[in-house]
Symmetry: C2
Subunit: 273 residues, 2 copies
């Protein structure tokens, strides 16, 4: 088989497709040498949309001369059968497991799409957490630290802000962040402001070389961006974390998702929705 072609791959869902993409990608990443050409089709929740998609999948099969891979997360049996009538290798998460779950649980599944009932509480928890992260980014007061579920501490540009936002959006966690500035460093004493909240602290570190690259983008050739500054700041921050037994992790090789999950686990945080 010609391995140079990119295998057409479809992620199909009756809702957003975010889960089908996530699980499908985890499977595809197990194949190092194969290239995939991805397309996502969300909200496929009617026979009409399913029929239209079948045409698209079949066209991809013909144009590429190879069977597409179709990951699907579709609850409605009728819609699913239409999608499965297309020319593809069908990996259907609902087909594969709903029967087994029905047997185990002793009840029938709905087999119909659930538009997640709008949950006002869920929305409010999320909004509150997002607003918390936005309002308390890089400018914290005592009141705010008191209300925080967790306080991320680290030198400027080590990855605090996106991690706080992800914690808010994904888990409804109120994450404040405390930037360690040169004023705080050069000593292993905890900054006065965060001292009362030691049990909420989580430290982020980073490779000095990577920090240098990031800061260069922002303020080229400044003292702030100099490699030596980065080395000193990171070393001081790490010494502080170690002295006070503050749990910490290195952000250099981690995605925002990995950081968030790692913090949830280390700080034993519970999702708020």
């Amino acid at each position: 088989m010609n391995t140079a072609i990119r295998r057409p791959t479809f992620f199909v869902s009756d809702r957003t497709g975010i889960s089908a993409e996530g699980m499908g990608d985890a499977l595809l990443e197990q194949f190092d040498d194969v290239k995939f050409k991805r397309a996502t089709y969300p909200f496929i929740n009617t026979p009409e949309k399913a029929h239209a998609l079948v045409q698209i999948i079949n066209r991809a099969a013909e144009e590429n001369g190879v069977r597409p891979i179709v990951f699907s997360s579709i609850a409605d049996s009728n819609v699913l059968q239409i999608v499965k009538s297309s020319q593809g290798l069908h990996i259907s998460f609902f087909d594969a497991f709903l029967g087994e779950l029905e047997q185990e649980l002793g009840v029938s599944a709905r087999h119909s799409v659930i538009s997640r009932v709008h949950n006002v509480e869920r929305y409010d928890a999320r909004m509150e957490a997002v607003n918390f992260a936005l309002n308390h980014d890089d400018g914290v007061s005592d009141k705010e630290l008191k209300e925080a579920d967790v306080i991320l501490m680290g030198v400027s540009r080590c990855g605090k802000t996106p991690t706080c936002l992800y914690l808010a959006l994904q888990y409804g966690i109120r994450a404040a962040n405390y930037p360690l500035t040169p004023d705080d460093l050069g000593t292993t004493e905890l900054p006065r402001m965060v001292k009362p909240y030691k049990n909420k602290l989580f430290g982020l570190t980073i490779q000095p070389e990577r920090l240098h690259d990031i800061r260069q983008e922002r303020r080229p050739d400044s003292t702030y961006a100099a490699l030596q500054t980065c080395r000193n700041e990171v070393a001081d921050a790490q010494a502080m974390f170690r002295t006070h037994n503050i749990p910490h992790t290195n952000t250099t090789h981690k995605s925002v998702e990995e950081l968030a999950v790692c913090i949830m686990q280390e700080c034993k945080l519970k999702r708020r929705f």
Copy 2:
């Protein structure tokens, strides 16, 4: 069987577990009347961690007198076999599909955990998008609108900010937001500032009653929060969207994920990583 007990449910992964949770939850939501007691175990990537987890699963089985459900996303066959030796109904996404994919693709899968190689480009695209959303939240300049991939437009508190942040984190999309203030409303003319970027606009609307509730929280009993104000503003905004054929959606019953996917689709945006 006693349906009053909450069935212990484990989401187990050698990485973050976010995909296993997403797909597992989609399956569980198909069972309306069953209650589940969820726990996530991320980073189960060694035999030692797997053995420790087996103990936890078996203890849950004994304490609850019912077989736990175990969703797992684990690539390493050895680690997976250990997890599967626990007392549970095992729904293993890798077990179920890797063989089929190997056959179709004509190559072997790695069967080992991939710590997603840190992709600097991916990180940078994401950071840039997050910074873009943060810097351009509710205060836009012409330069910023020019650089935006999409501009979300809507009345105050209709859901623009979390949607922009989610678009940035999940897809690396640069989403600006333009708040429609009373100055902009009362006419169907597009605000001067966004007029040159009509093709990037996406409108958000909301039920006036829900908007009233949200604004009440923020500024109780103000003119801003009054139901009549909310009704007028929403009606004016909708008239503006319709007059200029601006694609739009109602946020009232949608999650942030659904809004983001809907916008990606309607505006034909391509993820930046």
